[in-house]
């Protein structure tokens, strides 16, 4: 594709979009699909024909709108009217009233403005508003312009500088400065170099990356291409969980579309830059998200981490310099190049710029996919966006950071969301899960649940993680059955510190977080279990117990 072709295609698409007075976006992401989204989509298509408005009303199959609790969700533009729990029958009525008569159906609208008020959508800028399967839709909203700009008007070093100045940090959890990581790979000797987009979102309760891939796959592809240009790579891999069939399918089609338009492949935009992407499927191993484990998995081996250094930047895939970024990090890149690092750095908090996507789940009134500026407090997320816990229940704790994230109590809710504050409190940013617990959850049982998860998912390579976590699980399990003594609490703490300090990779190093934080903030529950054999949530001391493995 030539630069001019991109511009004229964008123009043509924008005009086509303008020729419609209405656009009906039907969310067909994994959150809405199981609840009949495709039937709703075809009902809308039939209805606009039936009422003879197909010339002025476009029906689009889009990705996630973000309000997963009201599936299937439908968004009508202009005005962003959001309809909840749409059925084929309701679709017909919506077309008749909203489109034909110009009267939005108030009774079916999702009236929750608070859910969106504090959100800021940068990564999810297009989610729910473009058809992920139409590359033209992405181009119409300025897609691939950042790549064009990078290739024709910026040097690789200039791109890295811009990303570095933006302050963007890795969204996969560790929070390493993206620009710095890129610079390491760019300076590393060895050829070829590789770029890996990490979409191995193995954390239970987290679906932010999947949703991004389903809603806006080209943002990931464009981000990867820019990264490849910056570090000097010509081959990229997207490592995606195979448990996400819709994301896999969407990415596959998006890569093909980009290839057929010449946005991937040889001599992109008639420059010397060539880049192509291959999809690699994971197979259900949580540890594969770790950056050295992902390398092993792409090479077709057991996903077992290895000690660092050497870092993947020096010796990655097949021993070559490799850049590994989370897909959310990559989706930020096109916007940073187009709007500038200064703009990006002005968003969020000091030392922690930009936004973060979270899947907000658990005992909260408005679960869904949210994107908020860094620095927002947990209280705002849980109580304003999330609408608090269900009626009649009491908030107990919020877990941030997936299975190895810590649990924070009510008194820490005013903590701002940034890497440093969360780590200090015993939680982690992780890949973006926020799970809310109310008084029906037992903290001892919950710590046991997550420890068991990590026991299952430990790759078994290093002793602290393999044996230490199992021992920890056994003690916690004992507490839930009425075994153990107060001395065991001391033992648990020592064991946790040992596992944290001595484990090889991030899985083991963070696995004790749930136990440590529940001990720190909810110690009385442990004591009640041990001394009084009492579980305030009524979960423990039943026959057997245990979550059971696969």
């Amino acid at each position: 594709m030539k630069p001019d072709e991109l511009r004229s295609l964008a123009q043509k698409e924008a005009e086509a979009r303008k020729s419609y007075r209405y656009r009906i976006n039907v969310c067909c992401s994994s959150g809405c699909m199981p609840f009949g989204a495709l039937k709703v989509l075809s009902a809308f298509k039939d209805a606009v024909k039936e009422f003879g408005v197909e010339g002025e009303c476009y029906v689009a199959r889009t990705g996630c709108i973000g309000t997963c609790s009201i599936a299937p969700a439908v968004l009508i533009e202009p005005g962003d009217y959001l309809y909840q729990n749409v059925t084929p029958d309701r679709a017909k009525e919506i077309v008749k009233e909203h489109i034909v008569n110009g009267r939005p159906v108030k009774s079916m609208l999702y009236g929750n403005e608070a859910y969106f008020k504090k959100q800021l959508r940068i990564v999810l800028r297009n989610a729910g508003k473009i058809d992920p399967l139409r590359i033209e839709d992405y181009i119409a909203v300025g897609g691939y312009y950042a790549l064009l700009k990078a290739l024709t008007r910026m040097t690789p070093e200039g791109v890295i500088e811009e990303v570095a100045l933006s302050g963007l940090k890795g969204r996969g959890g560790a929070g390493f400065l993206t620009g710095l990581k890129w610079r390491y790979v760019a300076r590393a000797t060895g050829s070829p170099k590789y770029v890996i987009a990490n979409l191995d979102e193995g954390d239970p309760g987290v679906f932010a990356n999947r949703t991004l891939a389903e809603a806006d796959p080209h943002a990931i592809i464009e981000g990867m291409a820019i990264a490849a240009y910056a570090v000097g790579a010509s081959k990229g891999y997207i490592y995606v969980r195979s448990e996400y069939p819709l994301a896999v399918e969407t990415l596959k089609k998006a890569i093909e579309a980009a290839r057929s338009m010449g946005l991937l492949g040889e001599k992109i935009f008639e420059t010397a830059f060539s880049f192509d992407i291959e999809l690699r499927l994971g197979a259900g191993a949580f540890v594969a998200g770790e950056e050295t484990a992902i390398l092993a998995s792409i090479e077709g081996r057991r996903a077992m981490p290895r000690p660092r250094p050497p870092y993947p930047a020096q010796s990655g895939l097949w021993g070559k310099p490799t850049l590994i970024n989370n897909v959310e990090t990559l989706a930020n890149i096109p916007v940073i190049l187009l709007k500038g690092s200064e703009w990006f750095a002005s968003i969020g908090a000091k030392n922690c710029t930009g936004t973060k996507c979270f899947s907000l789940t658990g005992k909260v009134n408005n679960p869904g996919l949210i994107e908020v500026p860094m620095g927002i407090t947990l209280r705002e997320v849980v109580f304003e966006i999330g609408g608090g816990v269900p009626p009649g229940r009491r908030f107990k704790a919020v877990q941030v950071g997936g299975p190895s994230g810590g649990f924070l109590p009510e008194q820490l809710l005013d903590l701002p969301i940034d890497y440093e504050s969360l780590t200090k409190a015993g939680a982690i940013m992780g890949s973006g899960g926020i799970v809310v617990l109310d008084d029906t959850s037992c903290m001892v049982d919950t710590a046991k649940f997550f420890t068991e998860f990590c026991v299952d998912e430990s790759c078994g390579k290093c002793v602290p993680c393999r044996v230490g976590l199992y021992k920890l699980y056994k003690i916690l399990d004992g507490f839930t059955r009425g075994e153990g003594s107060l001395e065991d609490l001391q033992k648990v703490e020592e064991l946790c510190e040992f596992i944290k300090e001595a484990s090889l990779c991030g899985l083991g190093q963070t696995a004790p977080n749930p136990t440590l934080t529940t001990l720190r903030y909810f110690r009385d529950e442990y004591v009640a279990h041990i001394l009084e054999k009492k579980c305030s949530a009524g979960k423990c001391f039943k026959n057997g117990g245990g979550v059971g493995g696969e």
Partner: protein, 169 residues
């Protein structure tokens, strides 16, 4: 033509084998394509038995221990034949805090099957999985590919009974 080693490995020379070998050729017998090959094999056969793994190891010129090691490392690969019907209960965080354990217990009790196992008559398998990513609709259960959101034991049991009944007719 299926590879000569196939019969040696005790595999039927059928369409599935042809497709599997075509896929392996597409990956140019590359050793690093092992995961992709295992994915394809499981899609075609439903699970990976010993003969199949040995055949794959021969074609990719990998030690059987390596292939077995990879197949057992990843949760997704099944080494035993699943039942005619499959119920999977999501045990991700969001589902767990919303009572997924009760769903599992209910199915275990009613159909006399353990999680991870199959009923004696081979009709029903019960699996638990770590997060299908539909957390906002937790708890979720998947019965023969159909996702049930905000599931209750009653709804899940009813659904299973219905498909088991339909089978009898």
């Amino acid at each position: 033509m299926p590879d000569a080693g196939a019969q040696q490995a005790g595999l039927k020379a059928d369409r599935r084998l042809m497709l599997l070998e075509a896929a392996i050729r597409k990956y140019q017998y590359r050793k690093d394509a092992l995961l992709e090959v295992l994915h394809t094999a499981q899609e075609l056969y439903g699970y990976l038995d010993r003969d199949l793994l040995i055949h794959i190891s021969k074609l990719l010129r990998l030690p059987p221990s390596h292939v077995y090691g990879v197949a057992t490392f990843y949760n997704l690969f099944k080494l035993k034949k699943p039942g005619t019907h499959v119920v999977t209960v999501c045990m991700g965080t969001a589902c767990y805090v919303k009572g997924a354990e009760d769903l599992v217990l209910a199915v275990e009790r009613e159909f006399n099957v353990k999680r991870g196992g199959t009923t004696a008559d081979g009709k029903l398998s019960l699996f638990v999985t770590r997060c299908i990513g539909a957390c906002a609709m937790a708890p979720n259960a998947i019965v023969d590919g159909e996702t049930i959101g905000k599931a209750t034991p009653e709804v899940v049991l009813k659904k299973i009974r219905a498909i088991m009944e339909a089978e009898k007719d």
